[in-house]
């Protein structure tokens, strides 16, 4: 009962015919018909009289052959196109694998590797983070203006509302664009960051009145440096974007990890320097603006804010690339140092403890109260910068988050 019309007779007859019926089939056939004309060219005297049948097969599957990285890939591709062991037998091969091996061995490979792929540009989404990064500065400016124009009870309301609005604005700005991150920041990091900003607002004033024996009442906050910091969100986002885009470009053209690290380091330093310039310009501008009467407005306050801005940018850059540990430690250390500075000033009033305030008082006497945050944040930023030149120049830091092929 074994009835098997094997391809010997049927196939040969179909080929020898070569009649218009078959040809019309090729023309009207869509996908499978597209290469069906060649499929009927078996070894040994097809109608096209191919001397080298494997060559014809390779020509038909040339893309597959050129792309293939090993013979098995060709075998899988051939099978997906309907080549079976019995087809391979027509090419005088035992099975598809040995046919594929011959094809793999014979294919002429391009000695030059393909040109590096061009990094995809995402220009469409740029507008929204660029706009959002302006939001904290705008809200902060509005709040500062509101504080100048109001008095008494409404003033407190404006301060509370402004603080809330700026906080939300910063959150929104950090949600999108180059400063956004999928890595979770701990609540400790968040709290220390808030403390550093609060210190920039009130710390210098408290320190100076504390040294003089106060405070005897509320002291005015240093709004101008904080306004400059809020405005600096936009240059920060742009610098981070420049760094990210540049690093990605370097990534696609680098041949080795060492080469990548060497080429990215100036990029990182350049972006950081650019941010420092922008922040410095903003601080200079805000110093010109009319400030709170009575607020500490020495150059130290602005230097402190500048150091804080640099520290925060570096911490954020590290966090967005998954290095959350170092920023947490350094921000915590800086915050703790500022707490200590304040505590020592007030602890010195306890009997017999006056010596504890000596270092802080010496520094404040020499360069003004703003020197304390400048030193603390500057040192912290330096530590983070050194850390960043080691970690952010690694290629693994620039892998896309869902980087599975």
């Amino acid at each position: 009962m074994s009835e098997l019309v094997r391809d010997g007779s049927g196939g040969a007859r179909g080929d020898a015919g070569g009649d218009p019926g078959n040809d019309s089939g090729n023309d009207s056939g869509s996908d499978p018909g597209g290469d069906s004309g060649g499929a009927r060219t078996p070894a040994g005297g097809g109608r096209r009289g191919a001397v080298d049948p494997v060559k014809a097969l390779m020509h038909r599957h040339r893309e597959l052959c050129e792309r293939a990285v090993d013979p098995l890939e060709i075998a899988a591709g051939l099978e997906a196109h309907g080549v079976t062991d019995r087809t391979a037998a027509r090419f005088r091969h035992r099975d598809v694998f040995s046919l594929a091996e011959e094809m793999y061995a014979r294919v002429a490979r391009d000695p030059d590797p393909a040109p590096p792929p061009v990094a995809p540009e995402h220009s469409g989404a740029r507008a929204d983070w660029a706009v959002l990064s302006l939001l904290p500065g705008a809200l902060c400016a509005a709040t500062v203006a509101g504080l100048r124009l109001t008095e008494g009870q409404p003033r407190l309301a404006v301060a509370a509302g402004g603080t809330l609005a700026v906080t939300l604005g910063v959150r929104a700005a950090l949600r999108r664009g180059p400063l956004s991150t999928t890595h979770r920041t701990t609540s400790g990091t968040l709290a220390w960051t808030c403390w550093l900003i609060v210190y920039a607002l009130f710390g210098d004033g408290l320190l100076s009145v504390g040294i003089e024996g106060g405070p005897d009442g509320p002291w005015p906050p240093a709004t101008a440096p904080v306004l400059a910091l809020a405005l600096a969100c936009a240059p920060a986002a742009w610098c981070a974007h420049l760094f990210t885009a540049g690093a990605r470009r370097k990534l696609t053209v680098s041949r080795g990890l060492e080469e990548f690290a060497v080429s990215v380091r100036p990029l990182l330093l350049g972006a950081f320097a650019l941010f420092l310039c922008a922040l410095g310009a903003l601080l200079a501008l805000s110093r010109e603006a009319p400030s709170e009467p009575g607020a500490y407005n020495g150059p130290g306050a602005y230097a402190g804010a500048g150091a804080l801005g640099a520290l925060l940018l570096l911490a954020r850059l590290l966090t967005t690339r998954g290095f959350t540990h170092a920023p947490a430690v350094v921000l915590g250390a800086a915050g703790a140092a500022e707490v200590t500075a304040l505590t020592t000033v007030f602890a010195a009033r306890l009997p017999g403890c006056s010596f504890v305030a000596v270092p802080v008082e010496t520094v404040a006497d020499a360069w003004g109260p703003g020197a304390v945050p400048t030193l603390v944040c500057g040192a912290a930023a330096l530590v983070l910068l050194i850390h960043a030149t080691r970690t952010l120049t690694r290629a693994s830091a620039h892998a896309t988050p869902g980087g599975t092929p």
Binding site: M1, S2, E3, L4, V5, R6, D7, G10, G11, R13, G14, G17, G21, N22, G25, S28, G29, S30, D31, P32, G33, S36, A39, R40, L64, R67, V69, D70, L72, E73, A76, G77, E79, A80, H81, G82, T84, D85, D95, F97, E101, A105, P113, A114, P116, P117, L251, T252, S254, R255, G256, L257, R394, A395, S396, A397, A399, G403, T404, P405
Partner: protein
């Protein structure tokens, strides 16, 4: 017996691969206890939930493969060194493996190539287990695999002498891409499944697929000595090649990933106690990837025969079908080559003008399927004008396109029953399900020689070369003209299908294979007494003699009965008294 069923993107998820087969297996082998260890492939799959599980499933443990759970452990100096050693070894094995194969063709003979392949496989295996031990001892493997150290190790391996040619061209993004892919593939290493209350407690691991699904089985074998059975209906490595051909990756990435998956497949095949391919095609691939021929047992997939029983057992041979009708059943897509079928039908009509062709099936998902269906319909309308009984009757086309559930074809069995001859015209085919269904229905078939068709049909139907409408037409005409031959072939086909492709044979085969594996490699487990001290002679000495002591009982009852009958206790540990 306790079976650990390992799946990846499959059972028990509703949208899983091969869930029907797994479900039948678990339900069919109620005498065994099943623990299911499932890796899910996507968040959507996890959200869609599970199928209903039978009571013999005592436990289900799942883990996401689509999401890395970084445990936040940062390695210390010693762990870092250990990782660098293991991963460097793994990377070196991956980068070198295909190069060795290439070189062997040029210089060394087959034995040299076998030997060097063995060395590479050993390196890969030991590196893999080294990483697994590190993950078990220290954790933090996900973070380490993503670290700069891993990328650096890959770079070193790519630049090493003797590395694969394509790997030498790897650029930094390629290295990152490969590292990310390897991290994803090795996620099962970080799971906590290999303790004594997890995979360590099962008697046998049954991986429902090769590749990543079998990785937990490899580790269970390494850590607890649990024997591994691998079933592959489609070879994972081949699927990887086809998927990578579609992906836009550089040659270096594809070469390295192909080498990695090849090495993993070789390791799985090397360690597995038995491998059960679903058809000869899978078997050939497995042999090619280094599976030992002695370990291979082809187990054909089982299909529900009951719903075709009524059609298949009709006494009058032809099954009451219209003797002039050809039927094609399947999903309408370009790989089925309906164009060729229509052309061959035109040839058939020249010989037998009364013949009709029914094409039953829905278009494949996506725009391509619908487009192809439209194309076929247009071609049918062009080739065959509508025709009518007489001058006053309304005519219709001899080719009809129908879907299951329509008024003419209420069920799949009815579709097969409506034709005298079932035709399969594919140019590409894996395991031809519609052909098996036609065989269950006792139909005579004409099919193209693709995929596993010849293996399935045996001698019980006509086979013609693909893309040869004339040969197809001749075979159809021969069958249309000879009702007796049709009946004979149909009966033979049904008998063959009932012998080879029923669910029962599938389950029986696996039952036998389970017993075979466990009798040959019982899990060596320490038996403890009530106070937790090791019990001397807890496992009788006979338990270590391979095969004998369980097979003695099997021989008494004979092969068919034990295969279908009550469970046989084949596992060590026995209570102390029983074996002595």
């Amino acid at each position: 017996m306790r079976i650990g069923l390992l799946t990846e993107g499959g059972y028990p998820y509703v949208s899983g691969d091969a869930r029907l087969w797994c479900d039948r297996l678990v339900r069919g082998l109620g005498q065994h206890e099943f623990d299911i260890y499932a890796l899910s492939r996507s968040e959507r799959q996890e959200d869609e939930g599970w199928v209903q599980l039978p009571p013999q499933v005592s436990r289900v443990r799942t883990a996401p493969l689509w999401m890395a759970e970084d445990d936040g452990v940062v390695h210390g100096r010693r762990a870092r060194r250990r990782f660098a050693e293991c991963f460097g070894e793994l990377a070196a094995a991956v980068c070198a493996a295909p190069a060795v194969l290439d070189g062997s063709e040029v210089s060394g003979g087959p034995t040299a190539s076998e030997a060097s392949r063995g060395v590479v496989a050993d390196r890969f295996g030991s590196a893999l287990y080294g990483l697994a031990e590190l993950a078990r001892d220290e954790g933090g493997l996900v973070g380490a695999l993503r670290s700069e150290g891993a990328v650096r190790a890959l770079e070193r391996a790519c630049r090493a002498p003797g590395a694969l040619r394509a790997a030498r061209t790897a650029r930094v993004p390629d290295l990152l891409s490969v590292a990310a892919h390897i991290e994803r593939a090795l996620r099962p290493l970080s799971l906590d499944w290999y303790e004594d209350d997890g995979l360590g407690s099962v008697d046998l691991c049954h991986a429902a697929a090769g590749g990543e699904a079998a990785l937990p089985g490899l580790l269970a074998l390494h850590f607890a000595g649990v024997p591994l059975l691998v079933t592959e209906y489609g070879v994972q490595l081949r699927a990887h090649y086809l998927a990578s051909a579609a992906a836009e990756e550089s040659p270096a990435v594809r070469a390295l990933l192909a080498a990695f998956h090849g090495a993993l497949a070789a390791e799985v095949y090397h360690r597995a106690a038995l491998i059960t391919p679903g058809n000869t095609h899978a078997r050939r691939w497995q042999e090619r990837c280094g599976a030992d021929r002695a370990k291979l047992r082809t187990v054909h997939p089982g299909m529900e025969a009951a719903r075709f029983a009524e059609v298949g057992e009709r006494p009058d041979g032809s099954g009451g079908a219209d003797p002039d009708t050809l039927v094609w059943v399947g999903r309408i897509e370009p790989a089925k080559d309906l164009i060729s079928l229509l052309h061959s039908f035109a040839e058939v009509r020249k010989e037998a003008p009364k013949t009709r062709l029914r094409i039953v099936g829905a278009p494949a998902e996506g725009p391509e399927g619908a487009l192809y269906l439209g194309h076929c319909k247009a071609l049918a309308a062009q080739l065959f004008p509508d025709e009518a009984e007489g001058v006053h009757a309304v005519g219709d086309n001899p080719v009809s396109f129908e879907e299951i559930g329509g008024p003419e074809v209420p069920s799949l069995a009815a579709a097969y029953a409506s034709g005298a001859v079932v035709v399969l015209s594919s140019v590409v085919e894996g395991f031809p399900i519609s052909l098996v269904e036609a065989m269950f229905c006792g139909r005579a078939t004409v099919s193209t020689d693709v995929g596993a068709v010849v293996e399935v049909i045996g001698g019980t139907g006509l086979v013609v070369p693909p893309r040869n409408p004339r040969a197809l037409a001749e075979a159809c005409v021969a069958l249309l003209r000879d009702p007796e031959r049709r009946a004979r072939l149909g009966a033979a086909a049904r008998a063959r299908a009932l012998e080879l492709f029923t669910v029962e044979q599938n389950i029986t085969a696996f039952h036998g294979i389970y017993l075979e594996i466990v009798s040959r490699s019982p899990v060596r487990r320490l038996v403890v007494d009530d106070t937790g001290d090791p019990l001397p002679f807890g496992v009788p000495a006979e338990a270590h003699v391979p095969g004998r002591w369980t097979e003695a009982r099997l021989m008494v009852t004979g092969r068919p009965r034990w295969a279908a009958g009550a469970p046989v206790r084949a596992t060590a540990p026995l209570p102390a008294g029983e074996g002595a």
